[in-house]
Amino acid sequence: MAEKPSDLVQGTLDMLILKTLALEPMHGYGIAVRLEQMSDGVFRLNAGSLFVAFQRLQRTGLIKSEWKATENSRRAKYYALTEQGRKRLNSETREWGRQVAAIARILEAS
């Protein structure tokens, strides 16, 4: 079995993918690499969880996809945020900030 993103807080993968796509449309591998780079290699995702998340996000209408050529002129599926996805990212980011701050307060108090 490949390693699972169990070290990722439940439910945060979707938010991270949305964040990654906020700048520009990207293909699957690009998203994986970007997530690794941005997290300084903390999050190393296997293909399974990544693609299940793509399918889920696409079905809930937060992202959309399109086949395009890569810079290496290879065919790849590019994912992009929808308007709905952008809204969700904003609200989730806010909510996340609130929760982290709250958790931090609790941890500091003890």
């Binding site: 490949a2 293909a47 693609f51 399918q55």
Partner: protein, 884 residues
């Protein structure tokens, strides 16, 4: 929206599987390639790079599987796989499948049939607008029972109440339609607001108008859709046309829609109501009195008015009326009956009893199937163990087993629908008694839904226990050759419990059937008080201008009886205004000289038969004392009558009634002298005690009845004289309709038909349940014998007596039966009291029935245990020891 998108995308992957697959393939391949290229840039060889990527990111196939199983469509897909697998497994053991399907078909078929009956009769909505606001409105009689109303009372109710939107009244009407062959119709006379009250609009034409509801106005009628088709060829221009009935011209106001079938006449002998005329009540007539209870009232409650509220208001009105007319009311209030209860109430008890009984059959079938599945589970332990070892999850295995059971259930449902399809026809041939709306019993989507639901539920319920057992078993033991996991104590106990409940349920059904059988046999030996064999009855009424003269009416019937008597093959003939057991309800209040109450309303009433001489002889009703009426008792002679034994006993205890005088109807009527005492007849039913009865000469009654029933005693069968008798009557006047041509024995038969119907059905259910239980008992014993073959062999080899062994094997099965019998007797004692209303002369806990049924069940079960046990006795110890 995202929900819809998810469905669309899921459907896409289901139906365009290839395309979606190759898409995913390409995307994933690209992903892995790009990852590998990254590694190759750092100097790895392609082969190593790809391997590293696989380790890091997961292999292509595993990822694909993960993505695929994440969507809901994968669930559908595996279900489909489960189903296909189930079909394969069931086809592999056709014997098991056949027995299981047959068991289910019996249980589900019986349930579907009864549900379609209950659905058609009880559950279908009544054909009125907002039927739960419709109430029958009765006067409350002294004994608290509901009673019809008089017209004057109705008018006061109508003008004084504030609870009802409308109150309408009706009374029965049997016009003779003189279109083509004269035909006696079943009809109603109604107030002009009748259809408005019920909420029915004519399909063509118009409703009755208030100005038509007066005496001597234009006479208008409403036709039922069926009458319009049958007698008027669906004439689209029928409205406004005149039709002749009872030698009077009526104008057609409208035709009612086809979906409206009147439920007001529930007498199975009378046929459905097909025609309505405006009441046009003449308040100047003597029968318009407040004490003349001959109209039925029906009202629609205003929105927001509760029944109790309406009842309280009506009681107040009734109390005021009673104060204003103290001599004319003995009633102390008003009774409101919801129309559903009025029309369907009497049918609902027996139907719900049937539904309960048939659900027992289903439970027995379910237990039996569970037992079958348990023994099958033994053979499948290894299969399940292998599948678990290969990584199948618990949920997946349970789902697969349930898929198999659901499929079995559906097969059973399909087989069970076959008998249900025939239900209406079977009902028609068995005769369901006086259940209303039988024509609405059919196989429709509600019934189908019920059947499929019951089938799935049964399949799942029967499959849960075996599935649970399979999973609890130790995988390692099962994988080892020769281990027999399911001989475990828990499994045996479960099977025992199933058998015990099967026996208990069957016993309860058998006892119910036994009680009904005993009731019917008791009822059939009750003498009706007359001899119905070889007597033909036919009804006729005289209509038209010519018959406005009483003398002509009397003469007509005297002549008709004379001509009937003269026919060859006729022993005797007579006519009467009503005959026993025919659903006629003519009662008259009477007043005995010297024994009248201060309020004449409190005096008793009796069934009144207006007869021609020879009625007692033709019916073979015994004359106990005095003389019969004769031709000498003509209109001008002193007025005489006969009273029945019960009347004599109740009214003149210890006295000789002969020579005593009574008044019939009002107190202002002349005196009639009792000249003879007859035997009692059962008028309402064989199961009801005879009431008081009086026989009056047709020649002497001041308003001779125009609707009479001829009774003709034939030398041979009644059918032989039927057409000659009709010709004889028509030879006097061919325009008079003859109806209800029926042997008297059929009336007797009809009066017990409802009981027969219940008995046949519950008997059939009991038989099915018994058969299933016996098969179950046999199966369990046979299984345990098969399991113990080796042990038996050893015992025989060691010198055990065969008789001892037989006892050993029988004891196990019979212990279960005895436990079942005890449980069954307890449940019967608790349940049979619900049958009480359907029993006659038999206690719900009748010892003889209980004992007989228990004996029968034990005997049959003993045979079912004995057969496999005897087979074990024939076992050759050498072979048994080598067994396995």
């Amino acid at each position: 929206m995202s929900f819809l998108r998810s469905i669309a995308s899921g459907l896409r992957s289901l139906f365009r599987k290839k395309q979606v697959d190759s898409d995913l393939d390409e995307e994933l391949n690209g992903f892995l390639e790009m990852a590998a290229e990254e590694k190759m840039k750092q100097g790895m060889g392609r082969k190593h790079a790809l391997r590293a990527v696989r380790l890091e990111r997961g292999s292509l196939e595993v990822t694909k599987e993960e993505v695929r199983s994440a969507g809901w469509e994968s669930f559908v897909e595996t279900c489909w796989q489960d189903l296909r697998f189930a079909v394969r497994m069931l086809l592999k053991s056709p014997g098991f499948t056949a027995v299981a399907v047959l068991t289910l078909a019996l249980g589900i078929g019986a349930n579907t049939a009864i549900f379609s009956l209950v659905n058609g009769v009880l559950l279908r909505p009544l054909p009125y607008r907002n039927p739960n606001r419709l109430m029958m409105v009765w006067e409350k009689s002294r004994d608290g029972s509901p009673e019809n109303v008089g017209y004057a009372t109705y008018l006061d109710w109508k003008s004084q109440n504030k609870s009802f939107e409308e109150i309408a009244i009706y009374s029965s009407w049997q016009p003779a339609l003189q279109v083509g062959e004269p035909e006696q119709l079943s009809g109603l006379r109604v107030t002009s607001n009748y259809f408005r009250t019920l909420g029915i609009h004519p399909e063509i034409g118009r409703d009755f108008l208030p100005e038509e509801d007066v005496p001597n106005a234009n006479k208008v009628v409403m036709l039922s859709h069926s009458l319009w088709q049958r007698k008027f060829n669906s004439d689209p221009n029928i409205v406004g046309k005149p039709i002749n009935m009872n030698a009077t011209q009526y104008i057609v106001a409208g035709v009612l829609p086809a979906r409206y079938q009147s439920l007001m006449n529930q007498d199975p002998r009378g046929g459905a109501v097909e025609i309505w005329r405006v009441l046009g009540y003449d308040v100047s007539q003597p029968w318009a009195c407040r004490t003349c209870h001959h109209l039925v009232a029906i009202g629609r409650l205003r929105d927001g008015v509760a029944i109790t509220q309406a009842n309280a208001e009506m009681d107040t009105i009734a109390a005021a009326l009673s104060k204003a007319y103290p001599k004319e009311y003995d009633d102390i209030g008003v009774i409101l009956t919801p129309i559903r209860e009025q029309l369907l109430g009497p049918a609902s008890t027996p139907l719900y009893i049937l539904l309960g009984a048939v659900s027992f059959v289903l439970l027995v079938a379910c237990a039996n199937l569970a037992n079958l599945l348990l023994s099958r589970a033994t053979h499948r332990e290894r299969e399940v163990a292998v599948r678990t070892a290969l990584g199948a999850t618990r949920g997946r295995i349970i789902r697969q087993l349930l898929a198999e059971n659901c499929f079995l259930g559906l097969l059973g449902a399909a087989a069970g629908l076959i008998p249900a399809y025939w239900t209406p026809k079977v009902l028609a041939s068995v005769g369901a008694g006086d259940l209303p709306r039988l024509d609405q019993v059919q196989l429709d989507w509600q019934v189908l839904l019920f059947t499929v639901g019951v089938a799935l539920l049964t399949g799942i319920a029967a499959g849960l226990a075996p599935a649970y057992r399979l999973l609890k078993n130790n995988m390692h033991d099962s994988l080892k050759e020769g281990m027999r996991g399911s001989g475990s104590v828990a499994s045996r106990r479960l099977r025992g419990l199933l058998i015990v409940s099967e026996v208990a349920l069957s016993l309860t059904l058998l006892i119910g059937a036994g009680l009904l059988l005993r009731s019917l046999s008791r009822l059939l030996v009750v003498s009706p008080g007359f001899d119905p064999s070889n007597v033909l009855s036919m009804q006729t009424s005289v209509l038209g201008q010519r018959f406005n003269d009483n003398a002509i009416v009397r003469q007509y019937f005297a002549d008709a009886v004379e001509r009937l008597r003269a026919l060859p093959g006729v022993q005797s003939a007579a006519a009467a205004s009503q005959i026993p057991l025919a659903g006629n309800m003519d009662r008259y209040g009477f007043h005995v000289e010297g024994k009248m109450h201060a309020n004449p309303e409190e005096d008793p009433s009796a069934q009144r038969y207006c007869i021609t001489p020879g009625f007692l002889e033709t019916m073979r009703i015994p004359l106990l004392r005095g003389r019969d009426i004769s031709l000498a008792d003509r209109a001008t002679a002193p007025q005489v009558l006969l009273v029945s034994e019960t009347t004599a006993r109740r009214m003149w205890p210890g006295e000789d009634p002969i020579g005593k005088r009574v008044k019939l109807g009002g107190v202002d009527q002349p005196w009639w002298t009792v000249v003879g005492i007859t035997g009692d007849v059962h008028h309402v039913g064989l199961d009801a005690d005879p009431d008081m009865q009086m026989y009056i000469p047709h020649q002497q009654w001041p308003f001779p009845d125009g609707l009479m029933v001829f009774v003709i005693r034939a030398a041979s069968t009644p059918a032989a004289i039927s057409s000659a008798a009709q010709q004889a009557i028509h030879s006097i006047d061919a325009t008079q309709p003859i109806s209800r041509i029926m042997p008297l024995e059929s009336y007797v038969g009809l009066s017990v038909q409802g009981r027969k119907f219940a008995l046949i059905l519950i008997g059939a259910f009991a038989a099915i349940a018994l058969t299933l239980s016996v098969v179950g008992i046999y199966g369990v014993t046979a299984y345990s014998v098969a399991q113990r073959t080796r042990e038996i062999g050893i015992r025989i080899a060691l010198g055990a007596q065969r008789g001892e062994l037989l006892g050993l094997l029988l004891r196990q099965g019979m212990l279960l039966v005895v436990c079942g019998v005890i449980a069954g007797v307890i449940s019967s004692v608790a349940l049979t009291r619900f049958l009480a209303t359907m029993l006659f002369d038999v206690q719900p806990t009748d010892r003889l029935t209980f004992a007989g049924v228990v004996l029968l069940l034990v005997a049959v079960s003993a045979v079912a245990c004995f057969l496999p046990a005897r087979r074990a006795m024939r076992v050759d110890p050498i072979i048994a020891l080598r067994y396995e």
